[in-house]
Amino acid sequence: MKKLVVILFLCCSIHVYSQGWSFEYSIGYGSYQLDDIKSIQSSIPGNYELKETDCFPNHITHSIALGYDTGRHYFGSNFSYLTTGGRLHRADYSGSYTVDMIMNGYRLGAFYRHYINTGFLPLSIYLQISPGVLFSSLEIKEHVKVYSESAKENTELKGFGIYVEPTIGVKYRFSNCLQFFLGGGYEVDFPSKMKYSGQEADTEAFWDGFRLYGGIIFVLPTHKKNTQ
């Protein structure tokens, strides 16, 4: 029944183009500079011959946004979740030593998107600028197991900064209620030092990198308007 409601809702939106409130979800793919974090990882191996098996690769991002779409302008607030990680590992017959470093970023910002009519309706190009604040956390999980002995230790660093991300993309209006879009941009961060247990560490979380997005926009029209 719920599926039917959702399908009907989506079908109904096809024939509507209107201005109104919107909810947007996009999944993306980003590259992360994170030089300081990688330095931490490379400094850890020490005497135990740990080897980097994973080093903060590019990874999927998730974003949601709430905004108001006027047709040509679209603005609102968005929230993104960035995550990547690294691993140092060593194992043999006697046990294993694993250091997992999980880096999460939480962006909360505002955005403004301007749609440009391409003449190939319902496809349009847009330009977007999105500034905001960025919360970062680095969780280091060490797990050692040697024979019957094992030990775990977690360390967490937290950071704060601001970012700005210009984006360019295309949108396809499937209906007045539902739109699809693809875009790409580059995030530039201005982070502060991360902190460990309240103490400032000489580490900054630069999430800088390219972002690719693809998502859908749900629009709740406030009044109907003929797109022609």
Binding site: F23, Y25, G85, R90, I102, V146
Partner: protein, 606 residues
């Protein structure tokens, strides 16, 4: 609509959480696990762990560890307490006994080795090999203080040194014994189990030993022992009249003995401590026992001890020069002299009663030599080198001095008579002088023909009452009867006389030693009363004891006593070489030899 929004929000949140990056990758290194055990070799000064290490001096401990794996760390523990750390496979350090309590301790070397697998466990120190080895160490402070040396007499009777060490025999190389007095060279005992040494060279006296323990590591320590065991004393025991037992204490250890009498060897090399020899009266003999090791190989000047003492049969009166004797029967006093003093002894106790010094110019009594006592009172006369002193008794006061009238041992006659006369015939004189003892005046003198050349025995005699005078010699005899101041010859012959004397208290009886007989004749008839043939062994007259009326004479090698009324029966006999003895109140008295007295009373057989 609200439900739809809730679903969407939950879904989104779940997606976020589920989408947190999960690091991946695996770095497994295929290593060969270690063996269960490996050989480990730990050595400590090459000492077998089953042996006890004796720590008695500062000792260098060298520990070496060897294994197929790398040494990570080793610890030296003493009684579970960490003492040293080792970071390499060898370690040397000094162990000081004074830093460890005396007693038995456990020294452990515990070592940890890597597994050399390179595994994570090894890197974390959770994998490796360990091994340990322990030794017992016995700490001894100042072992020389616990090196005890003693001595004893072994079952064989010889001196045996024995010792004991806290150091075990296994650590001892040898013992050396130095005895500068009993052993020519030091003794070396290479058997550590032998903890005693028999010194055949020691018998008695002072001795010292230095016993040294030599340990195998070159260390040595000594213990000294000295002691002084009394040299045996020599003693005498009269075994009747004829036997003398000479004995001495058994020395501390077995010995052999040489017994000498004066310069004569009596016994040589004996092991018994008693010797019985014949008695001989009239000699003060020095007995000298020489004590030596029983084995002659140990003879040297240090192993010889000696003991000596004088012995005479009877009692020594301690008289310094040639003794003169005279007996006063009234007072039972024996008169003699000490140097220039006239001395009175109680004839029974032989205790000195009184003495008087008679010094002369230049000779005095010391160089005189005749004493005479009166038969009827206490008068005593002493002839000095210049004059004659006559005392009324043994109090020796106000003597009558007859000057000049010297006398000495060669004076033939000096006799007091009961008529207060003093008869004197000087050396080789044929003239008899008669003095008044009360005044000292010479009464008269007369000549006789037969003068003797002998000092002993008496050849000239006067009867106690002064009535008869007799002079004899090897050429003959003359008997005079004294009447007032006239001496009338009443008998003479030309036999060979060897001594004459009037019998005390029997002035009409004359004892004669003539030819091969001893005769008693009646005076003046000169009839024979008794005769004793002594042709077989001869005889020398000594004197007649006026108390017991016994004749003392010397025959062969003995002094013999017989009653004057029975010459043929010997009532006492004693071995002697003294021919000039006198006997008063059963006391034999020697001439010379310090004046030896012997009471024959217990031995006289009637």
């Amino acid at each position: 609509m609200n439900n739809l929004n809730s679903i969407l929000l939950f879904t989104i949140t779940l997606m976020f959480v589920a989408c947190e990056y999960d690091p991946s990758g695996n770095n497994f290194i295929d290593l060969t696990p270690p063996e269960d055990s490996i050989p480990i070799e730990i050595s400590l000064n090459d000492v077998n762990p089953s042996d006890t290490i004796y720590l008695y001096q500062n000792t260098t401990i060298s520990i070496k560890i060897n294994s197929t794996k790398n040494l990570q760390q080793a610890v030296v523990l003493i009684d579970e307490q960490e003492y040293k750390n080792m970071w390499s496979e060898s370690l040397s350090f000094e162990l000081y006994p004074e830093q460890i309590d005396e007693g038995v301790h456990k020294l452990t070397v515990a070592a940890i080795f890597t597994s050399d697998t390179g595994s994570l466990a090894e890197m974390m120190g959770l994998e490796g090999y360990s091994g340990e080895l322990s030794w017992n160490i016995r700490v001894i402070h100042n072992p020389q203080d616990q090196f005890e040396v003693g001595y004893r007499i072994n079952e064989g009777g010889f001196l045996e040194l024995f010792w004991d060490n806290v150091i075990p025999e296994s650590a001892i190389e040898k013992y050396t014994i130095h005895s500068g007095l009993t052993q020519i060279t030091d003794i070396t005992i290479n058997d550590a189990a032998q903890k005693s040494f028999i010194d055949y060279g020691y018998v008695c006296g002072y001795v010292y030993y230095t016993v040294k323990t030599h340990l195998k590591d070159g260390y040595s320590f000594v213990q000294r022992l000295s002691f002084d065991k009394e040299t045996p004393g020599i003693y005498f025991e009269n075994l009747g009249l004829d036997k003398l037992r000479i004995y001495w204490d058994k020395p501390f250890a077995n010995g052999r003995f040489n017994l000498n009498c004066d310069s004569e060897i009596i016994a040589s090399g004996i092991t018994d401590t008693t010797v019985t020899i014949p008695q001989i009266f009239g000699e003060s003999r020095q007995f000298y026992v020489e004590i030596r090791p029983q084995k002659t190989a140990y003879d040297n000047i240090h192993t010889k001890s000696s003991a000596w003492d004088w012995f005479c049969q009877g009692t020594s009166l301690g008289l310094p020069n040639w003794e003169l004797y005279a007996y006063n029967i009234t007072d039972n006093i024996i008169y003699t002299r000490k140097y220039s003093s006239l001395v009175a002894f109680d004839a029974s106790s032989l205790q000195e009663k009184k003495s008087v010094s008679i010094t002369g110019n230049p000779w005095g009594f010391a160089y005189g030599g005749k004493i005479a006592t009166a038969p009827h009172n206490s008068t005593v006369a002493a002839m000095t080198g210049e004059e004659t002193w006559i005392f009324t008794d043994s109090h020796f006061v106000k003597p009558i001095k007859i000057t000049p009238l010297r006398g000495d041992v060669n004076t033939r006659l000096a006799a007091l008579t009961s008529d207060d006369r003093f008869f004197v015939v000087e050396q080789e004189s044929s003239n008899c002088k008669v003095f008044n003892t009360l005044t000292g005046e010479k009464i008269f003198e007369f000549l006789f023909s037969y003068k003797t050349r002998y000092t002993f025995p008496d050849h000239v005699t006067v009867s106690e009452d002064g009535q008869f005078f007799c002079a004899s010699s090897e050429n003959g005899i003359e008997v005079f009867e004294i009447s007032g101041t006239i001496a009338n010859l009443v008998y003479t012959d030309t036999r060979y006389y060897k001594g004459v004397m009037f019998i005390p208290s029997q002035p009409d009886k004359l004892l004669l030693r003539v030819g091969s007989n001893i005769e008693i004749r009646q005076i003046p008839s000169f009839n024979i009363i008794q005769t004793l043939d002594v042709s077989a062994n001869g005889a020398l007259l000594c004197n007649i004891d006026p108390v017991n009326m016994s004749l003392l004479y010397y025959q062969n090698d003995s002094l013999k006593v017989c009653r004057i009324d029975n010459l043929s029966k010997t009532i006492f006999k004693i071995r002697s070489d003294e021919t000039t003895c006198k006997m008063f109140n059963n006391k034999l008295l020697t001439y010379g030899k310090g004046g030896i007295s012997f009471d024959i009373s217990p031995y006289v057989s009637d």
